[in-house]
Subunit: 267 residues, 2 copies
């Protein structure tokens, strides 16, 4: 079982990704695809007159502030445009794909965080009405049912709170929790960079290997969203995933390249 997470940043080649996954699938590999949609969500939200609002926590992590209106725009782009676009690409290639959010069958379940602490002008503010959560539980029964019957699951945030409320969850960490639940042989975290870079954004400074027992030491090289990918990698490897690979989704065969060791391998 391979869990592939592909980001939602600019430059990602979804056609190449889907062609590569279709090839592996038709060879009999079991694959689950998880995707993002952040860049397109920002574009649509801005076009609808609700530009995205990001908050920075006191510990330095940046995240989207997701009130109800933003959640609905988020769902439109992630669950509508991006998810169905990927399912359509796979269907055209003869793969019987099924697109689901983490709310469907409560695949991604966890606590709803209604309040968020935000650092603004050096002061910590409390913002309420946030639809954000953390994946604490992955309900894999539905996914196993689909895989056992020949369907390739294509998953996307949001997730579900324990009360059934839709909450924005981090896609990388959701994929990591999923890979750990399934004891996947590999988790691939594909984005628009070649992997973890020692000197971001210098692509020649790629870190090729990270020992699984020392992932946290590499957090210092991670910029912004890459921090969550490194945290996700640590969680996955500690949770029993064979290896985690940060790979490049901008060109041909992104999945097979990553599986061959191109990128940053955490094992």
């Amino acid at each position: 079982m391979i869990v592939v997470k592909v980001g939602g940043s600019l430059g990602i080649d979804y056609d190449a990704l889907c062609a590569d996954i279709a090839e592996l699938w038709q060879q009999g590999r079991r694959v689950i695809l998880v995707h993002g949609g952040s860049a397109e969500t920002n574009r649509i939200a801005t076009a609808l007159g609700h530009p995205p609002k990001f908050v920075t926590s006191p510990s330095g992590y940046s995240s989207r502030f997701t009130n109800r209106e933003t959640l609905e725009i988020f769902e439109m782009v992630y669950c509508g445009k991006i998810n169905k676009g990927i399912v359509e690409r796979l269907q055209k290639l003869g793969v019987n794909a099924v697109g689901l959010s983490g709310v469907d069958g409560r695949i991604f379940e966890g606590k709803h965080k209604d309040k968020v602490r935000s650092v603004e002008n050096g002061k910590v503010k409390i913002l309420r009405g946030d639809h954000t959560g953390t994946v604490e539980k992955v309900n894999t029964e539905l996914l196993k049912l689909l895989l056992d019957n020949g369907y390739l699951p294509v998953l996307t945030p949001p997730g579900s709170s324990y009360e059934g409320v839709a909450v924005n969850v981090d896609g990388d960490r959701a994929a990591a929790a999923l890979a750990a639940s399934l004891k996947a042989e590999a988790l691939l975290l594909l984005s628009n960079v070649p992997g973890l870079l020692r000197n971001f954004p210098d692509e020649d400074s790629l870190i090729g290997q990270i020992p699984a027992d020392n992932v946290e030491a590499y957090l210092e090289f991670a910029q912004d969203r890459m921090k969550k990918k490194v945290l996700g990698a640590a969680e996955a490897v500690q949770g029993g995933v064979g290896k985690v690979i940060f790979g490049d989704a901008r060109g041909a065969k992104p999945v097979q390249n990553a599986l061959a060791g191109h990128g940053t391998v955490v094992s």
Copy 2:
């Protein structure tokens, strides 16, 4: 098995609908919900600078012209906002709902119509690039798998062409084809009117009963989109569905009311 189709027009009470479905589900009834999203799609499309374009066929039927850009907006609203909003409502009520489009698992499959004939100023024009289709085949295996394992399917257009291309399909006729494939005991077509009206929009002129062998005779009373509902009813009854009921989704208990015979009953 009951198939409930709820429209996407203004005035529909989705909270009441979901509460009613949850009650029936928890009594052990098997239910599949199919929904629309036309009014909200028009609103979002207009806000994004792509107001909807409707065409009228030479035989007098009105339909949405769906180029690729419109298809993606359609997917955002139907598969994203509306579908996940309904799934979330049901999950909050303890129903393990799973939202899918007709592209997922190719549930709704049929021919892709790329060209459409449109009457403009009395002349017939040919428009190309349309993503429209007709449901000719309902792939029910995935739905049976979900129902047998305790998941309530929440379905929405688009459907899939035989080539895997996403196509806008009429929700009422898709629900009718689904109900026929499953030999459902009842198909409920719920919208923002009490049923078929002899003198539209006079709600006191409700037609209570239509004999199943004479559905077409009532087409003359059907305005606009109601024509497709009447056609869908004919197809469903001819296909082995026990009865079709046009009911009102603007108030409490819309499903149980329709099952009790409130509305227009075709049997």
